[in-house]
Symmetry: C2
Subunit: 314 residues, 2 copies
């Protein structure tokens, strides 16, 4: 059998057809129609049909489709309860997709949760019973896997790991609280810290890089730190210390077998993991006494959402 995985993003809808060994035999993407929920369903259905045809299979061979959606998702009802960036409010996405194409079932999950499931089924946390995934991107996303399944809480809204306050009365977060982990450990937070340091350090080599790139990015400080720029190194050290603080919190709460780090900043790989590992000895309770959580970089990259979605019915 095959499984369709749909990763619904604010910019693109990415879809893949996965086989039983978690390989994507076909994938593609199409722009997400803006402010047009019905148009999104139609675009999704069209791309599914196209990929199934290109793969040379029939819908009879598709066990189900899984959809990873932003926002709060009601799995039981197959409904996106609320997703502001794509203008969904109590939108019965699963039912509407089933009305368009001959699918046996459609499963729905929050995108960060689906990515965490993908990493457990086919990525960095393969085989873990309990794992936590964080996604360091525009925000800080979170997905919690307990007993091999997505933990969604009593109202499908659990796992907002970026919205743990780590600095009371700290930097304002988009969620309305102050000092959320997301305000420091997201790429947005890193860019803010980089800009603050640039303003304070006119001699930093980061200025030349910013002039060349035309902007400050999440790579500015990491790249220049490797070139020996002291100001850049300070930014990276500060960023890592916030990251360690938040990861230490998650370990003290979950003590997962594996904690997976994904999202754009995870591209730094060992530049993140090497300084984080020793910090975990002091940032986690029982550090050095209990079996430590293994920190790993996500393996599925941009396909995590698609693969996680395709795994939803397994």
């Amino acid at each position: 059998m095959y499984y369709i995985g749909v990763d619904l993003g604010g910019t693109n809808v990415a879809i893949g057809i996965m086989d039983e060994s978690y390989q994507l035999v076909r994938k593609g993407s199409t722009p997400t129609p803006a402010n047009d929920p019905e148009g999104i369903v139609k675009a999704m259905a069209d791309l599914c049909r196209k990929l199934v045809e290109e793969a040379g299979i029939s819908f009879d061979e598709i066990a189900y489709a899984g959809i990873a959606s932003p926002g709060i998702v009601d799995r039981e009802a197959g409904e996106v309860v609320y997703a502001n960036n794509i203008n969904f409010k109590h939108f019965p996405l699963a039912k509407l997709l089933m009305a368009e194409i001959p699918l046996k079932a459609v499963y729905l999950e929050n995108d960060a949760n689906a990515a965490a499931l993908g990493e457990v089924k086919a990525g960095a946390a393969r085989g873990a019973k309990n794992s936590v995934m964080i996604t360091l991107g525009t925000g800080v996303g979170g997905g919690i896997i307990i007993d091999g399944k997505v933990y969604m809480g009593s109202n499908c809204a659990a796992g907002e790991l970026g919205h743990i306050v780590i600095e009371k009365n700290g930097y304002p977060c988009t969620c309305g609280r102050k000092g959320c982990w997301e305000a420091y450990s997201s790429a947005t937070g890193l860019i803010r810290m980089t800009k603050e340091k640039l303003a304070a350090c006119p001699d930093s080599k980061m200025h030349a890089r910013v002039a060349k790139d035309g902007k400050v990015s999440g790579r500015t400080a990491f790249d220049l730190s490797r070139e020996g720029d002291a100001a850049a190194k300070e930014v990276v050290d500060t960023y890592i210390s916030y990251l360690a603080c938040g990861i230490g919190n998650l370990i003290n709460i979950f003590q997962p077998e594996i904690l997976v780090i994904g999202g754009g900043i995870s591209g730094e790989k060992e530049n993140l993991l090497a300084p984080l590992r020793p910090l975990m000895l002091t940032e986690s309770y029982g550090g050095g006494v209990v079996k430590a959580t293994e920190l790993k970089i996500a393996e599925l990259g941009n396909d995590a959402g698609i693969i996680g979605a395709a795994c939803l019915g397994l």
Copy 2:
């Protein structure tokens, strides 16, 4: 059948015999022998024998005994991995108790986890699928119930909810980190805040109360706040704001059906809950949009550990 519940504390061993309707038909306690692990096992066995006899039942009618122990507990091995206050290190408590008295089985769990289970089975969170319990005492303890079972993580050390940093580089915590929730929301934290306010406000009515009581306690600020003392009210407001911050974090992570507040400070009941409830609208993600976690005061009081321990094999 009956179930023995043992709550092993640093000062006392409290034991109860529970019937099938979660009632304690008999309970008692005995001092915990200091620095004497084998003596603890013996005291435990003696009290079990005495209570079984007093209850007029036989060990044949006891399904099992459950033990709630401080520290890190390996449930599978029946071993207390580490508990500094009673000097246990890889101590095979379950096996040793079974060698003393004719029990069919002995289960072991961390005390905060056992209390959380007790509240789910027979207390404030009765029937909840997912719930979180916090204990506001000398420290801040935590227990996580998922799908009706204690969540213990991959190494039996999960649920250290007091050791979530909420103020990076804040007040030093006993665990070695800085700014843990425990450093603010424990009775110890409340007493520290009260003392700081006393030093800053020589006119506060709290001074007279402290002179009368001979000490600052967790009740000083709450009691005088009710009597209109402005300094006391400021302490209470600050304490509540830290409590709300930590509870908001837990809701964003778990979105449990019920969050149970236990421990000495929970005796304030509505004085805690009334100001906390509206704060949750802004401190939790999707507040006002998703079904809110219900905040409740623990119902089992000092028996939570005994009852939770007695429920371990159910």
